[in-house]
Symmetry: C2
Subunit: 281 residues, 2 copies
Amino acid sequence: MAVVMKGSEVANAMKEKMIKEVEALKAKGIAPTLGIVRLGARPDDLAYEKGAVKRCETVGIGSKVFEYPEKITQAELIDEINKINADKTIHGILLFRPLPKHIDENVIKYVISPQKDIDCLNPVNVAKVFEGDESGFAPCTPTAVVEMLDFYNISLEGKRVVVVGRSLVVGKPLAMMLLKKNATVTICHTRTRNLQETCRNAEILIAAAGKAKMVTGDFIPKGGVVVDVGINLDENGNLCGDVDYQAAEGIASHITPVPGGVGTVTSSVLAKHVIKAASAF
Amino acid sequence: MAVVMKGSEVANAMKEKMIKEVEALKAKGIAPTLGIVRLGARPDDLAYEKGAVKRCETVGIGSKVFEYPEKITQAELIDEINKINADKTIHGILLFRPLPKHIDENVIKYVISPQKDIDCLNPVNVAKVFEGDESGFAPCTPTAVVEMLDFYNISLEGKRVVVVGRSLVVGKPLAMMLLKKNATVTICHTRTRNLQETCRNAEILIAAAGKAKMVTGDFIPKGGVVVDVGINLDENGNLCGDVDYQAAEGIASHITPVPGGVGTVTSSVLAKHVIKAASAF
């Protein structure tokens, strides 16, 4: 049976390190603080916010929620973000998306200060991920994948990695981050032919398609590493990943569960990014 | 024998279209003009400049060379670029690189107005290439590859494309552009294991490694398309590509020569980008 790569183990290891880093910052008079910008109060956002605030708390990072009415105008939102940019007590900004329809994300993304843009919305940080420049902030989810592989000592050097999914929040940035670590990366998607064969031929398979259990046993590389980034609901309304876990665990050497896998590490990465932002102050 | 994909044929087809576009712009009172920013007078730069100016001329695009001494300070260069940004008679800016050592390209790249940044130096355009947003400017060389494939009716949809090389000027942006066209893209590089096998398994192989004739017959996919982006000198001092052309032409279905291939299309793309920039004025 495959080694189960548990998000909680990765998160715990990150936590120990972060507690020390936050202490060191506080000794220098810097209290790392996350600013959460939320428009309205969608249940999904509130759930993620609760998790993020708690994760930050456990390592000593403060947080402040900036809640605005959903009907805030674009100009008003820009003003508010500029205030948070200028606010020296806030080090990282998390803006919940999708934004309401009357607000253009393509405008807003330029407004968030690149130095506080801990979830990689500003093109300055997007370009850095693309360029392999690690001085900026990569999106939290693909960074969580890299953290997991790293924690479980899975080398990427020269490995055949197949990423299923080409989204801007996971697939594409992850491909660039893996490339930076010298993996040979293949990016697959809905138009890919022979997807099963391509996946089966990987040494490391990363499923980030957002489609419940689409990666069946036929896709799984024998003795390969399988990372499941998907968070979906199955036919019974239960959380499940993109991978058919039951089928995969007998074929792969390593596998991440859903829930309890990559998703568990994401808010730790967010906290890590707040510390990085605060350290650069 | 393989069909030879000739840069001159692609450039000619682009020329016809561009002449009409420039005429239409001029009828509206806009005279598309390229601004070339050059520090010092390196022979390579002068040769490329000559070609670019001529290519622009043949379609009716004007050009203006801004030559500065190599010892210009970074602050002075920033001032000069800002003047060109504000100059309404200049629509596109080409800045020759590498810059002298005392000037930080990582600073300068932010200075060039994204709207005039026709060779994709500004992170705003870099991020757009990454995001698949075609409203910006992609780098000229990878765009030339896409133009060639398009001209020769080589569909990318669902195709297995292998890109050898992960540079910021060719490999990575090209991978993103091919992905946007629904190819399944594998990015290979110096650390890739089984490079030959991976290349041979491609339907379209793009060599952008910058290493003379490294892609020997063993790499060539039987009946596949081979695009050679390399421009190198061989052991006799003659121009050659990354591909061993003699070996490849008997195996591939289509192949680009060097010289006379992708490089021939690059300055046409530059001209096309000047028109695009002028059209958005």
